[in-house]
Symmetry: C2
Subunit: 455 residues, 2 copies
């Protein structure tokens, strides 16, 4: 036997909540300068869930959307795994909750569990599923990957970088979105963002360190990936500008993605200056050339370099990367599904028709990161994904705007360990305003068991 061919994403769906706050409203409510969140962070709106939704319910909703949008036969699924960092149980997996959806099909033979490493867990789940399809254990069935997180911060500068969402994907051979085998990982022990206070939904964040870690991981992944590609195809020259049509990033906020895309030019400057010069033209290239020999450490601190890079990169950013930020700008940081929300945003433009190559950067604090590429193949399956994703705009626009006071109330009503110690828990959030088919938390009983219904 040999490898299954062209393994990747066969189908995908996204879930984002029905409620959002406008970042302009949040600027006023927080009393910060106008534009701090909208221009400074590049964010427009932020998705919000009440105590009616938790990580299990949003994962169930995304899985259900995938099944319905693509009429998936659940008896033909052989793997199911989850990426998340929104823990509601230290032992039980979110995957085990999703198995409820397989009861009717009486299919309990599904490899895979939960993958955990901050925002990176979804990518680990995807890679595992692709590897499984290519392994001798594969039995011809497809796999499903679900990524889900609720990103929430207390009052303060991090709050506008919250968000909520879930993505579900069907994985198998002959896929319209092929995951290419050459990947570069960067994994290291850091304390940039972590959640050691198990009673709290909020992380401990070292903001400046987190940004440095993200760039450092990007540099290492992108350069390492390029070296591997060169090794495999010694006669070709590689730079982001020459070889890849689109770029999708893990997106905590849009401005960081813009800077990250620009930073790829800095890598190109050092590895393939000639190709970069051809692409940028004399004026653009000249403004960067003086940085050719700057150390990596200095380059991470140099604000003038950062400014030059983003200025020169702007037109390329707008064509190759900006179309991927639609969901991110309007829903916020979704943690594990973030990168995949960007890929779906890009698909939602309807511009991908086959032959395109997408560079993907996945990052999770702590830290784990990967750079890899997706190649688009045309055909009926791509048409179907394009059709499903074309509805994303309508779904974003059909949401309900809530006030910042509501946002604070939503957060305050959340269940806590303290509450659960003494009684069972009845959520107070609205059910009527949920989209039809959305799973929601009905109650948590005195044995801490969670019970769900669908709206």
């Amino acid at each position: 036997m040999s490898f299954a061919r062209q393994v990747g994403i066969l189908a995908a769906e996204v879930y984002f909540p029905r409620h959002f706050v406008d970042q302009k409203d949040l600027e006023k409510y927080d009393g910060v300068s106008e534009g701090k969140y909208t221009i400074g962070l590049g964010q427009e709106n932020m998705g919000i869930v009440s105590d009616r939704e938790d990580v299990n319910s949003i994962a169930l909703t995304a899985l259900d959307k995938l099944i319905k949008s693509y009429s998936i036969d659940l008896s033909k699924i052989g793997r199911l795994e989850v990426g998340t960092e929104t823990m509601v149980d230290k032992s039980k997996s979110v995957k085990s909750y999703l198995m409820q959806r397989f009861e009717e099909a009486e299919n309990f033979d599904l490899e895979g569990v939960d993958n955990k490493n901050a925002c990176y867990g979804g990518t680990a789940a995807l890679f595992n599923t692709v590897n499984w399809v290519e392994s001798s254990s594969w039995d011809g069935r497809c796999g499903i990957v679900v990524m889900a997180d609720i990103a929430i911060y207390g009052k303060g500068p991090a709050r506008p970088t919250g968000g909520v969402g879930a993505v579900a994907m069907l994985v198998g051979p002959n896929a319209p979105l092929e995951i290419k085998p050459t990947k570069q990982h960067y994994m290291r022990h850091t304390y940039d963002f972590y959640k050691p206070e198990l009673t709290s939904e909020y992380p401990v964040v070292d903001g400046p360190l987190s940004i440095t870690c993200y760039f450092e991981a990007l540099d290492n992944c992108y350069n390492g990936w390029r070296q591997k590609v060169k090794k495999n195809s010694p006669n070709s020259s590689f730079s982001c500008l020459e070889n890849l049509d689109y770029f999708c990033f893990h997106a905590p906020f849009a401005k960081l993605v813009e800077k990250s895309f620009a930073r790829l030019l800095f890598s190109d400057l050092r590895c393939c200056p000639e190709e970069l010069s051809k692409k940028l033209g004399k004026e653009g290239f000249d403004s960067l050339e003086k940085y050719h020999n700057i150390t990596t450490a200095d380059s991470l601190k140099d604000k003038t370099l950062e400014k030059s890079l983003t200025t020169v990169a702007k037109p390329l950013f707008e064509s190759k990367c900006l179309p991927s930020l639609k969901i991110s700008k309007n829903v916020g940081n979704m943690y594990t599904p973030s990168l995949y929300g960007c890929i779906l945003s890009l698909l939602s433009t309807g511009k991908l028709t086959g032959g395109e190559k997408i560079g993907c950067f996945s990052y999770g604090s702590g830290l784990s990161a990967s750079f890899y590429t997706i190649e688009i193949h045309n055909g009926e399956k791509l048409n179907k994904i394009n059709k499903v994703t074309s509805l994303i705009d309508e779904r974003l626009n059909g949401r309900t705007k809530i006030t910042c006071a509501d946002l604070v109330e939503f957060a305050a009503n959340k269940t806590t360990s303290e509450k659960l110690k003494n009684e069972s828990f009845k959520p107070a959030g609205p059910v009527d305003s949920l989209e039809s088919g959305t799973y929601y938390l009905e109650h948590i009983d005195s044995k801490w068991r969670r019970h769900y219904k669908t709206a």
Copy 2:
């Protein structure tokens, strides 16, 4: 390209703590009848860690033991992943702590993160690593899998089923312990054992449900596995007795494993009564035959059937399964490493010389379970594993016995979220008595960052 061949475990090491309590002492201390823990549960001793060791430190210790025992070159490792359910951070992975060990080798390119589903996470990590070696993403390097847990219960009937341990394994092609591709999984949403109280180290357990779930998963996995094997080799007949030389189980306590082994005869009774009859002889078989048509639900409740099965199975249990329970009986439940501690116990007998087939049952509450087989291949690599595991007896015997009062003090001193909210944390447990090379917690600083040293 085609699959890498004979992929499996190339090398393995186990870590169990230096301190233990005698289960006979615990019977007296708890004021229960003599033999309740030693005969009723089948346990002899229980491993204990003080506040000096946490899940990260025991994982680091096991990894370090693996590297040193087999002189592993860390620049040649391409994957590292972890199975655990002992959470000290909701976001950061244990894998990221293990990356500290790769700093010196400057190797940060390692796929994989943490796998979470109660005691099953280690098996998920192992399967993922095998699949990766067989995938197109594999670059010729080996993978490492680390499983680590601290199983601790408050005062009460579950306390004697605690334990602590970690296993680290090197995974790659041409392995002496080959993981065969035919596997049967059983995954379902249950609330048999879970940890929803994030502030507590202790689980919420529904004891009777947990045992039923374990047997139900075993029935489904074993029967499903047999059907798959039959489908792949239609002319052969399969029963546990005929085709497999040894059996290793996830072992919460030894008595459950004895009953589980016996329950395989019940599956054989319904699927291949003729082979079973040949193996057991007339008298043994006659005592079981009347149960041929009992429903599965009734079979799980029938104590006379259970007694008949364990009686008939006793000699087979003693030859095919008991040798695997050495670590489990003396260290206790290690959660994710439990099954792998059993495999290493079996190897430590020195009896495996090649050609043997081992049936393996992995179970994690919530629930996730798998049945699969390992085939032993002789050669230098097997000799090396046999040599390393031959030291297990000496290491078990070289431990320090502590009193039950010490056990309670060890537990009481543990760090809690409440303590960490107000101050940094200095563990109080003994360092002098740790085995040389053991990683231990030096302190947790005011930003909840954990700092480790080696004894």
